[in-house]
Amino acid sequence: MNYSLITLEILAVLLGLTVLVADLWVAPATRKALGLGLAAALGCLLAFAVGSLAPQSGSAFTGMFVVDDLARYFKGFFLFAALAVVLMTVDFAPKFGAGLSEFFALTLFALVGMLFAASASDLVLFFVSLELITVTFIVLNSFQRTRSVSLEAGVKYLILGGVSSAFMVFGIALIFGTANATNLAVIAAKQKELGQSALFLVGLLLVLVGLGFKIAAVPFQMWAPDVYQGSPAPATAFLAVGSKAAGFVLLIRLLVGAVPQIAAEWHRLFVVMSGATILYGSLCAIPQRNLKRLMGYSSVANAGYLLLGIVAGSAAGSTAILYYLAGYAFTVLAAFTVISAIANHVESDDISALSGLGQRSPLLAAVLTMALVSLAGIPPLAGFFGKVLLFKSVLEAAPGHPELYALIAVAVVGVVISLYYYFGVIRAIYWGGQSANLSTIPVALPTRVVLLACVAGMLVLGIFPQGLMKIADHAVAGLSHKAAPSAPKAAH
């Protein structure tokens, strides 16, 4: 067996343990330096993961763990997200009081869960990696022990996460019972006869419930606003970017890679889920006054847009998901880096507290504005092109399926509504009325680096989409070759 395939995961675990141990010798005053050191180490890992020394394609642990282009794409994605989160945590640290190193270590363990998820090709590894993510996030979300909202967020995530895990493990049991296997490749080979078995289908649906919880899709989205609002900003950022992407890589592996024919049968289910998620997220965001809660609903709405790629059921749809996630990561990380950076300088998470930000820190105000504009899907930023790709993939599948036109209409309505609430925030930043406190907000160098990297990412993805599209195309191409020789969209 080729253990070198999990080099990245081993290194990440070791890094997490090192941080925990190093904490014993590092004085509290210099823990920030620990964070910067960790960021440097993650930077090295990122370079390793996307460089030519990265593990070659192959599979290990009897096919449970695969390394392919898709896995590599997402590993790079997760490492970048973790790097940004660690850097924004450094800025956010004064809010924690104590336990900064533990926060770093837990972030890394969540990262390990995501890295495994990127490579998971077996339902057992699905479950284990998702549990690793969920359990670490329970702690990360409730990390501000002195704030009841943070504890509330942790408890809600714990209970609902538990419910979702229960459904998922039940589903895996049903699948194992009917298919006598948990490996995706085996299931893919038998998907035709398995599709006849109602028990198998119920099992598959229950697994989808677990993934639906991760990505916060309707009707499993209830936790998102409360948890996003209550959690510390860096944890929320990682939840929004990393955890959601982990859900999507598993969805792609399962639906596009393993059981495309059954997924095509469930076409209508995904149409309804996607449309409902977009509308729910967009409509509920309108009356929000709390920025993080607004981002929670925005995250729900974005899950709906991403589901468009699953609805399309084509390679183009999966490419669009990958592209959209990359743009979404830059955008959301930029927004939360700003939220973290101002956390120590504004009195609340309320949108109204942003008034005067344009004067207090033009950089932070500009980046937050760009992030919101990108989320709203306005060119020339990343969000625009991602949405274009998603809509295009659905339109390509639309001939013969009138409901898809309706879905596109719903999505467009969602975009229009989102303009309203995102621009409400921008209005607060620049025209929010007189703010009592106009002291400047200092922006530390690491934060600056993250902000500029995210801005560059948003611009590059929005203006020069070809480069990443090629990579995403490549990542998805390997997938359909392996498991789905026939076109993913079967006769309907």
Partner: protein, 651 residues
């Protein structure tokens, strides 16, 4: 800048000499932006920079004229975009028309720019002036070189914008601001028709490429069927705007608010010529079989060309009559320009019968030369008289400004149509065409010649002869060399262009292989069409003697005004056209905008926008109630969701 890259690319990859045209087109653009971005503060450098750009463009144009004057060629095109059936190119076409026009535009522009170093010397926006002039030249060259209607239209609009910037150059003067707006808006009306015409042609012929269209029209003159007349008139609307034909002529006299070099460039050689040039370029539209849609059946028997002839002839006469009673030196020249443009347009319409518009194009070229000279001469006079423009406050300038006087007199002789100066030969061609086609328009031409000579002689006699009648004229002295040299240079073509076989050259373009009159050029007109020539000469002499009898004794007031009485009043007020527009168009416009405002305010903003947003907002607030915060509710909804999904999937 993109063009520059393309041009560069084209020059590198192809070895075609005609790609030099790209350099001609792009050079002024580079100068305009370079000046505005890099050296907005350096006066000397910006002048040198822009002048050298246009002069180089002129030299390149001369090269191309020698190479491609007698044939046609295309520069390597640049594919701009292609959408459903329309392949939009930026392509440059070289032939007799475009290379000749290149020479005219870059030549006059070079001289105007050199002249401006003197005239605009004290202006604080000196660099902006040069940069805008270069931008204008770029736009104009785009019209000249365009090989398709889309590109033509784009540059057509660019000319509109850059002329707006130039006319309103002294934007701190309210009258200049108003004039630039008036010019722009009036042009927009014409442009709108132009665009509709382009769309009509495209929808029928399926291509916008001028060469392809021409080929199609030659193969099938009835190509546009019933749309021929309408499309021709709509296209002509564009020319009506730019070449200031009645009733869209109102912008041109007001546009004299711009600096005088601008008037020389825009209103003599370039922008106003664009309309006539475009008509010559698309001449095949007017030689096509006429036709009208059923709704316009009452026009059967007329062709677009006939209507164009009437409008041109009317404008020529109308403007000449107004010019007789103007006192502002620039306005006299402005109405004279209108009148001459009317003649050119009339010649295009008349030429449709014989399939030869060379008379119009010939007059355009000669007119560009002597009218630019007249405008620059007027500028020299205004400059010397401390910005006095009323000819009745001048006088006696002949001795004080000899160079200006002699060039101005030469220009006047050319404009009046005295042999052997250029205007005589080109106007004679128009008269000859008119005599052949329709005696009424021959009469119009002769009458216009009488009037032209009359008002120009009046101008020269009042402003340059007699005694100074004003403070400014008293202290006037000759302008600096930067201003007089361009005048002298421009005098050359006005004096000697008749020695070149330009008319034959142009009619060779319209009728290949058809040998024109030939023989002696200088006395040619008297040989091949003596009636037209003698009538033209006679009209000029009659006009002059009339003017001399009235103004020869240097009166201090216009002796004609009391004689004409009310008519003079009407002429001075431009026959109240502006007042009529103010009384009719403006109230209608205000009414329409009030209606539109009400619709926007109550229907769109009130009902549609507020109503919809209200519904969405209420939906958002209602959904928010689901989010109770209670974990039991969440878990319940979660489980209900699972059941729902299973039901939906397995139904």
């Amino acid at each position: 800048m993109e063009h520059a890259a393309v041009a560069q690319h084209a020059v590198e990859s192809g070895s075609k000499i005609q790609d030099l045209a790209w350099a001609i087109l792009v050079l002024p653009l580079v100068m305009a932006f370079g000046t505005a971005v890099l050296i907005p503060k350096n006066r000397t450098l910006s002048a040198v920079f822009n002048i050298s750009g246009v002069v180089v463009a002129f030299l390149l144009s001369f090269t191309l004229f020698c190479l491609f004057g007698g044939q046609s060629a295309d520069a390597t095109p640049f594919h701009w975009l292609s959408v459903a059936g329309l392949d939009a190119q930026i392509g440059l076409h070289l032939d007799a028309l475009s290379t000749l026009m290149l020479l005219v535009v870059t030549g006059v522009a070079s001289l105007v720019m050199i002249y401006s170093t003197g005239y605009m010397h004290e202006d604080r926006s000196y660099t902006r002036f040069f940069s805008t002039l270069s931008l204008f030249v770029f736009s104009m060259l785009g019209i000249v070189l365009a090989n398709n209607l889309l590109m033509l239209f784009v540059f057509w609009e660019l000319v509109g914008v850059s002329s707006y910037l130039l006319i309103g150059f002294w934007y701190e003067k309210p009258s200049a601001g108003d004039a630039s707006k008036k010019a722009f808006l009036t042009n927009r009306i014409g442009d709108f028709g132009f665009m509709l015409g382009i769309l009509a042609i495209w929808s029928v012929a399926g291509t916008l490429d001028i060469a392809a269209l021409k080929a199609q029209f030659i193969a099938n003159p009835a190509l546009l069927g019933p749309w021929a007349g309408l499309a021709g008139l709509l296209i002509f609307m564009g020319a009506m705007g730019k070449s200031a034909q009645f009733p869209l002529h109102v912008w041109l006299p007001d546009a004299m608010e711009g600096p005088t070099p601008v008037s020389a460039l825009i209103h003599a050689a370039t922008m106003v010529a664009a309309g006539v040039y475009m008509l010559c370029r698309l001449f095949f539209l007017y030689t096509a079989t006429p036709g009208w849609p059923a709704a316009l059946g009452f026009l059967d028997g007329l062709s677009a060309a006939t209507i164009i002839t009437c409008i041109g002839g009317f404008t020529a006469l109308f403007a000449a009559v107004i010019a007789v009673q103007q006192d502002d030196i620039k306005r006299i020249l402005a109405y004279s320009t209108l009148s001459q443009l009317g003649l050119m347009v009339m010649a295009v319409g008349l030429g449709a019968k014989t399939g030869d518009a060379s008379a119009s194009m010939y007059h355009l070229v000669t007119h560009a030369g002597f009218k630019a000279m007249l405008f620059l001469g007027a500028g020299s006079v205004i400059h010397a008289c401390h910005h006095e423009q009323d000819i009745w406050k001048m006088g006696g300038l002949r001795t004080k400004m000899p160079k200006t006087f002699w060039t101005f007199a030469l220009g006047t002789a050319a404009l009046a149509g005295l042999p052997p100066f250029s205007g005589f030969y080109s106007k004679d061609e128009i008269l000859a065409v008119a005599l052949e086609a329709n005696p009424i328009f021959f009469g119009v031409g002769v009458l216009v010649t009488v009037l032209t000579t009359f008002y120009m002689s009046r101008l020269v006699l009042v402003a340059f002869f007699g005694k100074p009648r004003g403070e400014g004229a008293d202290h006037a002295h000759e302008s600096p060399a930067s201003m007089t040299v361009p005048l002298l240079v421009l005098a050359v073509p006005s004096a000697f262009i008749a020695w070149l076989p330009l008319g034959e050259f142009l009619s060779g373009h319209f009728k290949p292989g058809h040998a024109a009159h030939g023989g002696d050029i200088l006395f040619g007109p008297f040989n091949h069409n003596p009636i037209a020539a003698f009538f033209g000469l006679g009209a000029a002499l009659f006009g002059f003697s009339l003017a001399y009898s009235l103004y020869g004794k240097s009166p201090t007031q216009d002796p004609l005004s009391p004689k004409l009485g009310l008519l003079s009043q009407a002429m001075r007020n431009r026959f109240y056209i502006d007042e009529i527009y103010d009384g009719i168009v403006v109230p209608i416009h205000n009414l329409l905008s009030q209606v539109a405002d009400a619709i926007d305010r109550w229907l769109i903003a009130g009902l549609a926008v507020r109503g919809l947003s209200g519904v969405v907002e209420i939906a958002g607030r209602a959904l928010r109630l689901v989010q109770t915060g209670s974990i039991q509710t969440y878990a319940f909804l979660f489980t209900a969701g699972v059941l729902l999904i299973v039901l939906l999937a397995l139904k």
